[in-house]
């Protein structure tokens, strides 16, 4: 399954390694500095305090929910963007990717004016008895908003790389579009979908600005781990550092687990395993 060539030739000039090393140090050094700051004797009590565990649990639950929402909304979006050309497609893509470049606070404000009490949809939702503001649902909405582009970009890339030969063949053999999607397209891009889902999960886990602006901050309801860290920092720097390390560990675990397998642009035989 390993597709790397066996010749040993990488085509990378030696000086690239030097710059790459500097890049790696630039990313790793702040993490090392943080680890050095951790109050180790107090580490376990700090991360197992009631407020920390509640925040961690809430973060994991909401991130899972928003990843699911990203898959439900993002897979069709990526398919439409990658497979069927239509007028305004370029514009749609630019807008779908907008949360990537938007400061999360801006996203939070936009969500507030959409789902908030006085918002575009908020009034109708309130009449229907649904109140989103200050609820866990608001957290999931904020996370989905910022994480969706990650899934769409990953999956669209995978769809384009995979091409549509196999789908065309399946169709000529009489498979209906839904069957082709289920039996050919999705299995073909599964690694890309998995990578996108993992990135969405990681982005949801780190979501801060939109949540703070849109959902508020209450223990067990809307105060996710990043918000808890931000609050702890006010009074207890040790707790903030310990929780930061916990968040880093969870993120590394999630991303590390998923990148162990070959991903986007994988050979078709891999997809049909």
């Amino acid at each position: 399954m390993n597709r790397r060539s066996g010749t040993g030739y990488t085509g990378i000039p030696p000086w690239i390694y030097a710059i790459a090393a500097a890049g790696a140090v630039f990313v790793l050094l702040p993490l090392v500095a943080m680890v050095a700051k951790v109050n180790w004797p107090q580490f376990i009590p700090l991360i197992t305090s009631e407020s920390s565990l509640t925040a961690l649990g809430l973060s994991l639950r909401t991130s899972t929910a928003s990843t699911a929402a990203c898959i439900v909304l993002g897979v069709p979006l990526a398919l439409v963007l990658a497979r069927s050309p239509f007028p305004g497609q370029r514009l749609l893509r630019a807008f779908v990717l907008l949360p990537l470049v938007l400061p999360p606070v801006v996203g939070g404000i936009a969500l507030l004016y959409t789902f908030g009490r006085q918002g575009l949809l908020g009034k109708s939702l309130e009449l229907a008895g649904i109140q989103i503001a200050f609820s866990t649902t608001a957290v999931v909405l904020a996370q989905t908003f910022v994480a969706l582009p990650f899934l769409v970009v990953s999956l669209e890339g995978a769809l384009r790389t995979a091409g549509n030969k196999y789908e065309a063949v399946a169709a000529t053999l009489g498979a209906r579009p839904s069957t082709v999607l289920r039996r050919v397209t999705i299995p073909l891009v599964l690694p890309g979908l998995a990578a996108g889902a993992v990135l969405s999960f990681a982005r949801s886990l780190g979501e801060f600005g939109a949540t703070l602006t849109f959902a508020g901050s209450l223990q067990g309801v809307t105060r996710t781990l990043p918000l808890e860290i931000y609050l702890q920092r006010e009074t207890d720097a040790d707790a903030a550092v310990a929780l930061s390390l916990l968040l880093v560990a969870v993120a590394v675990a999630v991303v590390g687990l998923s990148y162990r397998r070959p991903r986007i642009g994988v050979a078709p035989e891999g997809a049909f395993r």
Partner: protein, 272 residues
């Protein structure tokens, strides 16, 4: 779609954002323009010159911006750079070596952190006080009229978290009055609380008197007698590492003097 096209879209979005940010930055240095017009004033006082950086609590933004502008106008050749943030953030920055000459805190607790660390020159001077006030949307949807009303069931109340000064004050009032509040959110800063009220998400919020004034007609303020249970005192001091202590002391004198008192009381601050 071709790659250059996609890059083009990305650059367009990036360009628009940069332009928007640049627009924000260009708005601030308005004080420089007014400096020359009233420059002839101070002839009897010793000539002040140079530049200082003032780290001030976020709640002092409008008053200190005005005071610094006036000060620069009266003393041509001086430059006061202001840095506003939460008091505890500023303490962290100064402890980590940020180049501050003057520190104005929103509470004595944060100032004490610096005096304990021997980072302050001399004794801090208290120059203002602030008390809590209830802020409600102009329509007052939950018909709030008193502090006790905040505990009514169904009221969407937003307060500061106990970890930040305004939240500590909220907790003190709660204890003193024997009221138990059930907020829907505990925010990390008073501006976040105010934001939830001005946007109409919350029925009521507990903020400072001065925040209600700053918000203008976007919120209605409801003062309550119990607020005197938790009075926040604002101290100001010269930072020990300051390179221009003369100018720092002159600015502090302006803040604590009659001119500062007027500007501060106009903004709703009390006198210590």
């Amino acid at each position: 779609m071709s790659m250059p096209r996609r890059l083009g879209t990305a650059l367009l979005v990036a360009g628009a954002l940069t332009a928007a940010l640049a627009g924000c930055a260009a708005g601030t240095p308005g004080a420089a323009g007014t400096a020359s017009s009233t420059g002839a004033g101070a002839s009897g006082t010793p000539k002040l010159s140079g530049a200082i950086t003032v780290f001030a609590a976020a709640s002092l933004k409008s008053t200190f911006t005005q005071l610094a502008g006036d000060f620069e106008a009266k003393n041509p050749g001086t430059k006061i750079t202001l840095n506003f943030a939460g008091s505890s953030d500023l303490v962290t920055q100064i402890t980590q070596g940020a180049p501050a000459d003057v520190f104005a805190s929103a509470d004595t607790k944060n100032m004490t952190k610096l005096t304990d660390a021997k980072l302050i020159d001399g004794a801090p001077a208290n120059f203002a006080t602030n008390v809590l006030e209830i802020a409600v949307p102009p329509s007052n949807p939950a018909s709030i009229g008193s502090f006790a009303d905040l505990a009514k069931p169904g009221v969407k109340l937003v307060v500061c978290a106990p970890q930040v000064p305004c939240g500590a004050a909220t907790e003190t009032v709660e204890k003193a009055t024997g009221t138990t509040l059930a907020p829907v959110s505990e925010e990390s800063s008073v501006t976040d609380v105010l934001g939830k009220v001005t946007s109409g998400e919350a029925d009521a919020g507990l903020v400072y008197v001065t925040d209600v004034k700053t918000a203008g007609d976007k919120v209605r303020g409801i003062p309550f007698a119990e607020s005197d249970q938790a009075v926040n005192t604002y101290p100001i001091a010269t930072v020990g590492t300051s390179q221009n202590k003369e100018l720092a002391a002159a600015f502090i004198a302006t803040v604590t003097g009659s001119e500062g008192k007027k500007v501060l009381s106009d903004a709703g601050f009390g006198t210590p």
